[in-house]
Assembly symmetry: C2
Homo-oligomer: 189 residues x 2
Amino acid sequence: MEELKRRILNDAIVQEGGIIQVDMFLNHYLDISLLESMGAALAKRFRGSGITKVLTVETSGIPLACFAARSAGVDAVFARRFQTGYMDRAVYSSEIHSFTVDKAYTLRVAENCLSDHDKVLIVDDILASGQAILGLLEIVAKAGAEVAGIGVAIEKEMRDGGALLRRMGLRVEALATVERVEEGRIYLK
Amino acid sequence: MEELKRRILNDAIVQEGGIIQVDMFLNHYLDISLLESMGAALAKRFRGSGITKVLTVETSGIPLACFAARSAGVDAVFARRFQTGYMDRAVYSSEIHSFTVDKAYTLRVAENCLSDHDKVLIVDDILASGQAILGLLEIVAKAGAEVAGIGVAIEKEMRDGGALLRRMGLRVEALATVERVEEGRIYLK
């Protein structure tokens, strides 16, 4: 997606450890018109695959998931990652490890948010190690639902998440792919 | 807003301490069509007030903020509440206390996300004690920006947040107002 690629090259900041910071348009400041186009682009790529729900994880995946769901004409669910005292009900859960902050999290989705009739599009902002998405896949499996595929704004190809998910036979669509980061410069595919 | 009121009466769950759980449509499971209508309703109430930006706080305010911003034709920003290792830049911050989880948080907004030309609509899912919104007001003030008003999905009138904000001269718009909760039953205004 050209507009997204342009924004990455113009505005993204490369941090220590090759972390790509896109919070000036994607996950802190929200460029709503760009997010809407991105959501529509993801929905278009998965058109005809019978999606009934979009699933993401708090926090950064939520805006894109909202607009992808809107374009696909379905509802969305975000897995809870932080304890806020609300999730006392029966949940599907999965333990994941975030490499970004070197911390373990439990993802939780209330059982009545997903059914075994659902066909789920998993959405996130950035695909790197794929840990969050593996956690969401476990939750979808526990619910007996089907995965239609995975749609992300940015895939970091130099990390192994995308390759791993594709080897599992999953369809992974990225709106922009970072091939490598060298000396603070981002090279897109 | 009638559709929201109906959903509250049908689907909301009252928890211990009078906490109203609306995560089957508003802040876990996301009823996208309802959220879109709610965002449009908030934008309509503040039409003509010159809003340039919508500001919310992670996590639960983000979906409504996205759709309110879209309807108002402006961008959005969500204040970071959880440490995720990304916010190394210059930030406006505010310390708040969450009564829901009895915990202190620091809200952070990168300085380049708000300017002194901005007229800000603050959006959140639920207004109870108003702590999160007071924190956002402090951040808007630190940025030298102006507050157009506060728009929430649900105001809990039996808590003092709404009254406090109105006494400060702020315009507060709620799409549904809970008058009281008695024996696990919700009474709307």
